[in-house]
Symmetry: C2
């Protein structure tokens, strides 16, 4: 039964979710909120949806670049290149990003008769991003259920697992993670040094995956 | 202390709120989601903010007209002209509209160091619009609080009063409601016959206000 919409960036996490739950997904929605990595991620988003025969739309959110403050909406030089942790990554927070994406996704789902929206937030982001934590997900799920005619459900099954565990699921599904994009600097090739590239490499290594991604820096 | 952002359309309810809480309002945000009444409402929104010296921005949400289904985003001929009640007005629901506006407002508030977002939903809309009800407001408030670094608060003090009670507050504040716009058909002059014009007229009458709005039909 195809009853679900997925918030889909083309990164490791949502790509894993797309393949894991493909039987249920009627529509994939990519939000273009002007972040540095959007353009490169989106190429993979388009490719995976075409491969699986899943309808895909891109929703432009130009107002976010204009009215929101975040290093991620600014310049590659503002992206932290140290370890992926709270103090380094706080500057990359796009305020309430997951709340905004889930809200718009809920409205599109209801407009299209779909009863569920999926999002691939995970536990590795809890320290950095408040809108990835279980308390947010629980309250937002209730808001979406209460605020829609058809009681749309939020489905966030990776909330309590980390990126390495997601990669292990992908390994089981036969995914090739070189067909995903993570770098917050947004270059054609992963820089390999920014905090998000470090997080990606660590997760793939922890999952025992031979990482064939091309990185600028070893 | 100016610590708040208001979701401000230029209609009766949010205009009353703008005047009632003007001391606390640092920023007024009008969402242009392509509804029929947006253009006429917005003229009043601009005027009131200029009069009170409150910064005002318009946030375009073009994607809603494209991806959402609602009579309100369609044609004046689709707007119901009977009594304002659930069965008539259901076609005008813009799915999860208040969730979307509150989410974006929360992100803009956090980006601007503001701790509170205000919205003027009221009890007269509970039957028609799920995202105006207390259960939605409570869950959404918790989602916004949990999902932002600075625990942004949602303030919706009209949730349990109706439009006539709002009009009585406006009367006490000396508001001239002919400087607000309500008609869902979106003409230069209020049609006077659509369900939203009927609701407006009934509220002003119930509040004992001499309604100087110009209506096309008596």
């Amino acid at each position: 039964m195809k009853d679900s919409l997925i918030v889909f960036s083309g990164g490791m996490d949502s790509t894993t979710m797309l393949y894991e739950y493909q039987e249920r997904i009627a529509l994939a929605v990519t939000f273009d909120y002007g972040s540095l990595q959007n353009a490169e991620e989106r190429k993979f988003a388009v490719m995976h949806c075409a491969r699986l025969g899943i309808k895909h739309i891109v929703v432009p959110m130009d107002f976010m670049r204009r009215h929101f403050k975040s290093a991620l909406l600014s310049s590659p030089d503002d992206i932290p290149t140290d370890e992926y942790n709270e103090s380094n990554m706080k500057s990359t927070v796009v305020p309430f990003r997951n709340g905004i994406m889930l809200s718009v996704a809920a409205g599109i789902a209801e407009s299209n008769g779909l009863g569920r929206v999926m999002i691939a937030n995970h536990s590795g982001d809890h320290a950095v991003y408040p809108d990835c934590r279980p308390g947010f997900v629980k309250a937002m799920s209730e808001a979406v259920r209460n605020g829609t005619y058809n009681a749309v459900e939020v489905f966030a099954p990776y909330t309590n697992i980390d990126k390495a565990a997601i990669a292990r699921r992908g390994l089981g599904l036969g995914l090739d993670y070189s067909e995903t994009y993570s770098c917050y600097k947004g270059g054609k090739v992963h820089c390999g040094a920014c905090a998000t590239c470090r997080e990606r490499r660590a997760a793939l290594a922890a999952a025992g995956i031979n990482d064939t991604t091309v990185y600028e820096s070893a």
